[in-house]
Symmetry: C2
Subunit: 494 residues, 2 copies
């Protein structure tokens, strides 16, 4: 017999707020399923006839029939012509809890792998979601020609039709690889062919792929010191041990790298303007590094970040184009030169690394979205990319001058600005003995994002200060932010 | 003195086809740079005055000046007022080759890490770029409402403006997480909240993240046998050792899993319809598996692939919604239910895994493209997704019936079809003693893609045959392909 108390349970379960948006038959099915799983309705107990249950619940008989059919299909009830429906033999869970439970009450220790725990501990790479001064690495997006981009996208879809919806080459579309090869050869003095380009989602993915493909866990890698945190974390995640090489005004000290006693097979660097110091690697060091790589059959990972934005003269051509031995892996991205959410980066690879890197990429996430790739190819080939870069270079150059002036005017007792030749952020060195971390915390409370220079060192920091992003903020926005920082400084000096 | 022969070298270098599309000043700069790097122009040699060179090359003096400025900025030449320009001291590369070289002549052994070599050896996950029978796992894209999708995208951009261009939450936009939570709770009987969903690029990325975060290299993982190749390769790439558990008509043999002597902390499976057999995991086994996971503090990875497409009755609700202990990780994707190039997949995570998985994701590739996420959220919330799934379910159901009929009519001496209750592919068992591999090779030559069943076994295959994809192909396309296969079979039987 189906007891009155059981009917009440069904009615109560039906009212559960999580079911509110479900169709009626599904609310009934879920309520009955839950009562069976919880053992309130037990094996071999009869269920009321659908007509009777419909009447008590004041719903149509079809609704109950639909619920019963689904319960039957999923194995919760048995149905026999003539003798009605019964609860099936369903194994009881040892500790029945409400499935519609909220968070578990006691938070158990997280069971992660060692590498999973390592990633959690290093906190990953967190980009500012809403641009606010002075978060570095964020481009201005308010000037992007979005209507033009959308028009090109519509054209791409007219041209490619449903082909644009299918899987595309994991190496990237030919159209985009050709457009990039032409662009980097012309603008960066690279030596790229479409066959040697691999389209990715971001430069972070490029760095992660290099770490996996070129080195095993426990292997060493030469890095700049100080260096970009995202690369360092990617290397550590892959189990690599960074071997820090100092940086001076001409970039990484290639002489020290060459003298190193332990053999290391990969060096990762930012030659165009070193992150965070802004130093450009000298020609002599570039050629020395290339020769070292060839002699040691080592790889050079060249992260050419922000190289589109060079404000004083022409930017130095990239290492990759100087390297006749194909020992250099060039990394570029459009998440800064276009907009962060475009999710397109790329590598120019030595011929022998094209197949391994492409294969590895298919195992991680397949390929990059086709429509964005084709739209970007159009955007580059029709000259819009070049024009947009020229426009933004002027905007950013002005903002850099503004920021330098603001720091020199309002923060001169505290900070010495070191304006770089290019890029989207300016290092400023603390000259007042104040504590970097304290300033960062205080500024954060007031809505200002400061990145500490000392966090970028692998060894004991030789400088403290901040890396101030300027690209995404107008003159007015920076002025207001500098006033707030001034107050933070003076409050802490008091 | 600048010799006549040197001038001829400059002229020759200028004609290099790789420079054809460059502006004139850059052609001159590249030509001179190359001659300096190659040692044709040596340190301290004078360069001709810009006026003189302009005359010999028949270009304007400004053009030569621009080339000289760039050479100077990059460190290739010295300039002294009054005494002109000289080649700078530039380290010579030991083996000067033409930078504009083609592929290296001798292909050296590729220097990859052990894990890089492992990925290259397993050949990655290659999806059919142009759908052709009977490649599995490919959806029909020709019926997708592309104009509607583009209209929603324009609406998204009107609503979000430049916000849509910025970095977005690495966990995924709230809009899409909410839309997915509602959908999977309703349609898959899941128990999801937006806070426990992580938006990714594909289910491959989800599987790879699970492998990294939950287990270390050398750890064991329970898998189905036979199983999906993409998952197996992802596990092996992460250094895991698959422990194969047999599958019968009710899915994975949970009893055998529980009896296993070695403790294993993760099981990966496809309960909705097992890949490739199509078996649905019985309710009893689901509950047993959940209990096993809770008692052993183990994780269940539930790949709910293709569950949108169930043709006989309602699909069984997912394991995740039955699990009151939060031991289940649910993986879903839109690359099959919408279109492959959309690049959006997701996981429903136990609360304690949200932070670790999100952090790990930022280290791999940052986040998923914002505009596609927001467009998809609109598409789901406005009911278009549900409508499209219903439409495609009917299309695919008909195609499955067609394919079964074609196999039974034209290939009955060779193949026994095992029509599944859902999904996009049908297993067919070889009943004629012909060699699976030979048939696959022969069919491939004739443009037909056959996936062998034996390649999906971890242990010695207990069946040979093929997994025939049917979703992406019209009745006519399948008819033609079956005729070709028939010829392959009869030719090989002869």
């Amino acid at each position: 017999m189906f007891k009155h108390s059981q009917l009440e349970s069904v009615k109560a379960a039906l009212m559960h707020p999580d079911y509110a948006k479900y169709p009626l038959y599904l609310r009934i099915q879920r309520a009955l399923r839950q009562l069976i799983l919880d053992g309130v309705l037990q094996a071999n107990n009869p269920l009321p006839a659908s007509r009777a249950l419909a009447l008590s619940l004041n719903v149509s008989r079809d609704t109950v029939e639909n619920a019963y059919s689904l319960l039957h299909a999923e194995g919760y009830i048995e149905r026999q012509v003539g003798s009605g429906s019964f609860v099936a033999e369903v194994p009881q869970l040892q500790k029945p809890k409400r499935i519609i439970a909220t968070q578990p009450t006691k938070q158990p220790t997280i069971q992660l792998s060692k590498r999973g725990q390592g990633m959690l501990n290093n906190e990953g790479v967190r980009e500012a979601l809403t641009p606010h001064p002075f978060a570095p690495g964020i481009p201005e997006t308010r000037l992007f020609p979005l209507p033009l981009w959308l028009r090109l996208e519509r054209q791409v879809i007219r041209d490619y039709q449903f082909k644009a919806l299918q899987h595309s080459d994991p190496q990237g579309t030919k159209e985009l690889r050709s457009a990039i090869a032409h662009y980097v050869n012309l603008e960066r003095g690279a030596h790229a062919t479409p066959e040697r380009i691999l389209i990715l989602t971001s430069s972070q993915q490029a760095i992660a792929l290099c770490a996996l493909n070129l080195l095993d866990a426990g292997d060493r890698i030469f890095t700049e010191n100080p260096m970009y945190q995202g690369a360092r974390k990617a290397f550590e995640t892959a189990g690599l041990i960074p071997v820090p090489i100092p940086v001076d005004q001409h970039g990484i000290r290639v002489d020290l790298l060459k003298q190193h006693s332990t053999p290391v097979k990969v060096v990762s660097l930012t030659p165009s303007h070193q992150y965070p110091t802004g130093a450009t690697l000298s020609l002599e060091r570039r050629l020395e590094l290339i020769e070292w790589a060839e002699q040691n059959q080592a790889w050079i990972i060249e992260d050419d970040y922000d190289s589109e934005f060079h404000y004083v003269g022409k930017p130095t051509a990239c290492v990759q184009g100087l390297d006749p031995y194909q020992r250099t892996i060039y990394i570029g991205t459009f998440t800064k030169s276009l907009f962060p959410s475009v999710r397109i980066g790329y590598m120019i690879l030595p011929a022998q690394l094209v197949a391994p890197m492409t294969t590895a990429r298919t195992l991680q996430d397949g390929h990059t979205a086709t429509i964005s790739q084709l739209t970007l190819a159009c955007f580059i080939e029709n000259g819009h990319f070049g024009a947009y870069i020229r426009q933004m270079r002027q905007v950013y150059a002005k903002r850099l001058i503004t920021l330098e002036k603001l720091v020199r005017t309002h923060l001169k007792e505290f900070l010495e600005p070191l304006p770089p030749l290019g890029g989207m952020q300016m290092p400023c060195v603390l000259i007042c003995g104040l504590n970097e971390k304290v300033i960062i915390e205080d500024a954060k409370e007031k809505g200002i994002a400061l990145t500490g220079l000392s966090s970028l060192y692998i060894t004991t920091p030789t400088q403290t200060g901040f890396l101030l992003g300027f690209a995404a903020y107008t003159e007015r926005e920076m002025e207001l932010a500098i006033q707030i920082i001034r107050k933070v400084f003076t409050d802490n000096s008091g």
